[in-house]
Structure formats: C-alpha cells, structure tokens
C-alpha cells in the first residue's frame, strides 16, 4: 500500500486563482494529472488476467450465497473488474484536519477488492482451513496484499509525484506571471 503518498497543499487555491487569468494553464495542469491517472489505471487493468487467480475461483457469482452477508463469493469477471478500476479527482469527504484525494485510483468491484487486499490483515498461516489455503496460494502466486491499484501506485509513485509537482510549479509560475502582469 502506498503509505508514503505525496501530500500537496495549495492545489485547489492555486488552480482557483489561476482560473481567473489563464484557463489554458489550468487545462495543462489537469492534463498532466489526467495523463498520470490514466497511465496508472491502464497498468492496474493490465494486472487483471482473464483467467481467475485460482482454478476454484468461479467466473460467475455464487448462486446461493453463504458469505459476505448472503451475497456469496463474487465471480471472477475480468471485464467487470477492469471496468471498475477507475480514476477519480473527486475530493473525499473531509471530516477533520485530514488529507483528501485530489487524484486516486479506485478498485470498486468485489472480486477486484478481494484480490487486492486478501491477506493484508489476516496473514497466511499453517492451518488447514480453506481460508488459510486461499491466502497461502494467492500469496505464493501473486505476492503479498496490495496487488492491483496500490501496487501500481507504489511502483510509479516517484514518477507521478515528479510530474505532478512539476505541473504544479508551472501553474504557480503561471499565476505569478499573471499577477505581475496585472500589477504592471
């Protein structure tokens, strides 16, 4: 999981101020973010294989659910999982002095979420239960938890940060330039 995400301040303020002077500069800034998000989204979707991670993972949802509050085990529908890996720039609900997303990848399908985080909280042990076996196999084949969107973000974090920070600096410079121009 991306524990050390970059936290930027002043994005909204800078962009709001810049909108008053140069909408093209705002578009340029948004394009950088959109490009980075789209790239990350594409990489994350590529991780999802057409075949289920395990032979026993059916492709259709369980007919009669016993787990997940009666919903049953979600089927491995690669198309659905991929389509539900989306990008967003929506600001999350702010409950306090906290960080909120300005750009993020979402893994919204149930099967995709299980594949992403299975074994993160409950470590694979040596028990003989099916759950333990599932975690062990998943871990052995695809590595530890954070297998889709978090993995992509971790992998490309440095590049994304650099590009976005550069775009933000450019936006600030544009704002400064326009302010100086207005003063003159």
């Amino acid at each position: 999981m991306a524990d050390d995400v970059i936290v930027l301040t002043g994005i909204k303020e800078t962009i709001d101020a810049l909108k008053q002077f140069d909408k093209d500069a705002v578009k340029r800034f948004n394009k950088v973010i959109n490009t980075e998000l789209a790239g990350a989204q594409k990489d994350a979707r590529n991780i999802i294989s057409e075949d289920p991670p395990m032979s026993g993972w059916r492709k259709a949802d369980a007919a009669k659910g016993r787990v997940r509050g009666g919903k049953g085990w979600p089927g491995w529908n690669a198309g659905e999982i991929k389509s539900k890996i989306t990008k967003t720039k929506a600001q999350g609900k702010v409950r306090g002095d906290y960080t909120t997303s300005a750009g993020a990848l979402l893994n919204k399908s149930a099967a995709g979420a299980i594949f992403e985080v299975a074994g993160k909280k409950t470590k694979a042990g040596f028990g003989g239960g099916s759950g333990q076996q599932f975690l062990r196999t998943l871990g052995n084949r695809f590595g530890k938890a954070s297998r889709v969107v978090w993995r992509v973000v971790d992998k490309d974090r440095a590049r994304i940060e650099e590009n976005v920070a550069r775009a933000l600096e450019q936006a600030k410079a544009d704002l400064q330039k326009h302010l100086n121009k207005e003063r003159a």
Binding site: M1, A2, D3, D4, V5, I6, V7, L8, T9, G10, I11, K12, E13, T14, A17, I33, E36, L37, A40, K84, T88, K89, Q91, G92, V94, R95, G96, D97, Y98, T99, T100, S101, A102, G103, A104, L105, L106, N107, K108, G112, A113, E116, V117, F126, R136, T137, N140, V148, V149, V152, V153, I160, V164, K172, Q176, L179, N180, E182, R183, A184
Partner: protein, 499 residues
C-alpha cells in the same frame, strides 16, 4: 467516491476544514461562556440590587417605624408624667407592658398607646388605666368598634358622661345607667365582653397580624439602632458638607460657567470633525468599497498570518505615498480621517490578489483632485498617483506557507519510512540468524555488515555455519537452502526458488 472501494491515492490534498470547524466551535463555545457570564453577572447584579433595595427598604421602614413609635411613646411618657407623675422606670415598664399586650391581642401600638394615654388622663392612674384598656379591648373586639372610640367613651364615662357609652351602641345595665353607677356599668360591661379580645387574637387574621406586629417590633429595634447613625449623618451634612458645598459654589461659580462653555465648544469641534469624516467617506466611496472588498477577501481566505506579515510593509507603502507631492496631501487626509482604512489598504495591497486591486488604484497616470475612485474605473479619474508596489514578497510568503505543510508532511513520511526500514532490517537479521542454525552467526548488528574487507573494499563475511567456515557465496546458498527447507514443509514444492 465509491463506498467500499479500494482507494489508492496518488495525489492528496491537505485540508484544514477540521481546524476551522474546531476554531468556530471554540469561538462559539467562548461566546456561550461569555453569554453565560454576562447573564450570570446580570442575574447576580439584579439579585444584589434587589438585596440592596430590600435592605434599604428594611432600613427605611425600620427608621420610619421607629420614628413613629418614638413619637407616640414620647407623647405617652409626657402624659404619664403629667397626669400620674410616673418615673422613667414606670414609663419603661408601661412601654414593655404595651409591647407584650400588642403581641397578645394583635393590636398595634399605634392604637394601644393613644388608648392608654386617653384612659390615663381620665383615671390619673396607670394601673387603673391598664385595667380599663383591657376592658376597652374586649369591648372593641366584641363590638368591632375602634379601640380609640371605645377608650374615649370609657374616659367620658369616668368623667360622668355615661351617655357616651350609650351612643357607642354598647348594651348597658339600664338600672346602673339610671343610677349613674360607674362601677356597676363597668362590671356589667366586663361580664358581657369578657375574653373577647383574647378569643379574637386566636383567629387566623389576628395571628397573622401578630406576626406582622412582631416583625415591626424587630424593625423598630433596628430603627432605634439606626436613628443615632442618621442623626450623626444629618449633623455632619448640616455642619460640614452643606457649608463646604455652598462655599465652593460661591467661590467657583464663574469658573464652573466657563468650563461648561469650553465643553460646549469642544462638542461643536467634535461634531465638525465627524461631519468632515463623513464628507471624506462620501467623496472617496470607491476607496472605501475597495478596502472593504479587500478586507473581506483577506478574512475569507483566512490568510491572517500573511496579513500580519504584510503589516511590516505598511511603513514602506506610507513612506512611498508621502514622497510624492499628491501623496503628501493624501497622507494629510489619512491623518485626519481615513488613516485606519488607508493602513488596512496598504497592508492588504501586499497580499496576493489584493495587490492587484490596490495597484490598479495607484497606477501611474492617475490624476489628483478627482473623486469617485474605483479600481476598475478610468485611469484619469483618480485623486492621487504613486508608483506601483513592485515587491513580490507577499506572494512568495503565500507560496512558502503552502510548501511549508508539504515539507512537514514529507519529513514525517521520511521518519515513518526510516522506522519501517529499520524494522525490516532487524527482521531480516533475525531470520538470517534463525536460518543459519547458529546462535553465533557473524553477520552484523542493526542490519550493517562488519568484518575484514577485500582488496576492493567489500566486506568479507565469514560465517560459522554448523561448525564450518564458509564464504559469502556459500552463505547465500546456505540461506536459500534453509528457506527452501522451510517452504517445503509448508507448501510442498511451491516455494522453490529460481536460481
């Protein structure tokens, strides 16, 4: 954002909404406390005022009651002395008797004293007068006639005018009346009205009256205690204060009149200044509006820190104004009327977009003496000119404050990573130690290798593994074998390594 989705944040925006909410809540709480304090103070104030008023009322009632009582007692004492030659002790005993009688029958001393005085004057004997008063009280209670009227009728009867009793409507023994036998008449009256006063005193009305009278007696005592104080105060006021005030007024009456005249002139001057200030505002409404917009914007954005920083540039801005010919006139105007607004403007002008507005107002080419300034108005329609402020300091400060938070977060992130790295290295060392099968494995402490180095400066690691010393390459092989052994036990062949 989707509920329940796995979210991988790439860009994260810091929000201080929580802080602002907390500040608002704290301010609100503070206001509540203030309100409570004000209300409490008001309530306590009212209570205190009420207490004071009540105390004053008690004091006033006490003194008034005591004064009335004193007046009646003086009259009674005089009557007793004149008619019976009573001593002070006898008078004091009579007063005590009346106080007790008052509480016994529920009749005020204001009625008892004149009654006893009348009867004493008629009988010339205090004891006989007290006995007659007792009869008068019974008659009064039995006939609901006024005690004073009954006492007068009895006094007249003692003087030989029995008809007064008849006029009172009291039933009398006809034979005794015809014989003008006073003793028989009184005896008859005593038999007729015996115990009336005591019975009446037991009714609720008179029990309440007795309570009231008891309270009045307490007040009278308080009043008697206060009377000397008031007498002393009256003496001081009469002897010292009034003459001093009189002397002061006579000596300073001309000066007092002159002072009032000066105060009136001063009020006129103040009024004139206020009118001038109003004129300045009406003539420069553009500036006022612009400043209001700037101030509102400043506080909406919440850049208080930047505002405080910007105040440091006020001096420079004002000096700049004063160096110009028109600027001097403006400075003068500011000094007389709009100084606070101008200072606010100079400060705000250095902050972010605020500079844009003010500089438009102050750009070269503006003309003096024009009214109706507007930052968006005609460049020639301005009443002063000066050089625009060219410093970018405020914007730099603004951006610096933005970056400050980023730096702080990065610093924290690094520290978390350092801790994670250190823990990972410790875990690795422990695992290597376990896999080597030897408690005396010779690979570093704290994750760092140490030992003799080769020609290239690389550390040569010698490990005592199962009693044999091997090379660094063999160590790796040994570790891989150990891991494979472990994974075979757990996963069969799944955990085999590619070599």
């Amino acid at each position: 954002m989707a509920v329940g989705a796995v979210v991988a944040r790439i860009l994260t925006q810091y929000s201080d909404k929580g802080s602002k909410t907390a500040q608002k809540d704290i301010a609100k709480l503070g206001k509540s406390f203030d309100g409570f304090a004000k209300k409490s103070a008001k309530a306590f104030g009212l209570a205190a005022a009420a207490s004071a008023a009540f105390a004053i009322k008690i004091g006033k009632d006490a003194v008034q009651g005591a004064m009335e009582d004193q007046k009646q007692q003086v009259a009674l004492a005089t009557a007793l002395r004149n008619t019976t030659g009573a001593t002070d002790q006898a008078i004091a005993a009579t007063v005590t008797y009346l106080d007790k009688l008052e509480l016994l029958v529920g009749v005020d001393n204001a009625e008892l004293i004149p009654s006893l005085q009348t009867l004493t004057q008629a009988t010339k004997d205090v004891t006989a007068a007290q006995q007659l008063q007792s009869l008068a009280l019974d008659i009064s209670a039995g006939t609901t006639k006024d005690l004073g009227a009954v006492s007068i009728a009895l006094a007249k009867a003692i003087g030989g005018n029995v008809g007064a009793l008849t006029k009172l409507g009291v039933p009398l023994d006809a034979d005794a009346v015809k014989a003008k036998d006073l003793n028989a008449i009184l005896k008859s009256l005593g038999a007729t009205f015996k115990g009336q006063a005591e019975k009446r005193a037991e009714t609720l009305e008179f029990r309440l009256k007795k309570l009231d009278l008891a309270f009045k007696q307490v007040l009278d005592k308080l009043g008697y205690a206060l009377i000397p104080v008031l007498e002393k105060f009256a003496e001081v006021v009469t002897a010292k204060i009034l003459p001093a005030v009189n002397e002061f007024v006579e000596t300073n009456q001309k000066k007092l009149a002159a002072s009032f005249a000066v105060a009136a002139d001063f009020a006129v001057i103040l009024l004139g200044a206020a009118i001038n200030f109003t004129n300045w505002i009406s003539n420069n409404m553009g500036i006022v509006k612009s400043m209001a917009v700037l101030i509102a914007g400043m506080f909406v954005v919440g850049r208080i820190a930047a505002f405080v920083t910007a105040i440091g540039t006020i001096t420079t801005a004002m000096a700049l104004l004063r160096t110009t010919a028109i600027g001097a006139a403006i400075a003068n105007a500011f000094a007389t009327s709009g100084v606070s607004i101008a200072l606010g403007a100079a400060a705000l002008a250095t902050v972010g977009l605020g500079a844009y507005t003010l500089n438009n107002m102050m750009k070269p080419g503006a003309v003096a003496g024009k009214k109706g300034i507007s930052p968006r108005g005609n460049a020639n329609n301005r009443d002063f000119i000066t050089d625009p402020i060219t410093s970018d300091k405020t914007l730099e400060e603004y951006l610096k404050s933005i970056n400050k938070n980023t730096t702080a977060v990065n610093k924290n992130t690094k520290s978390v990573m350092d801790i994670a790295t250190a823990n990972a290295m410790k875990e690795l060392a422990a695992r290597q130690k376990a896999l080597s099968g030897s408690a005396s494995i010779a690979i570093g402490g704290g994750g760092k290798l140490y030992g003799p180095r080769d020609a290239n400066g690389k550390i040569i690691v010698n490990v005592n593994n199962a009693g044999s010393v091997i090379t660094q390459e063999n160590l790796v092989t040994s570790i891989v074998n150990g891991i494979e052994r472990t994974t075979r036990r757990s996963f069969g062949t799944v955990g085999a390594f590619d070599r």
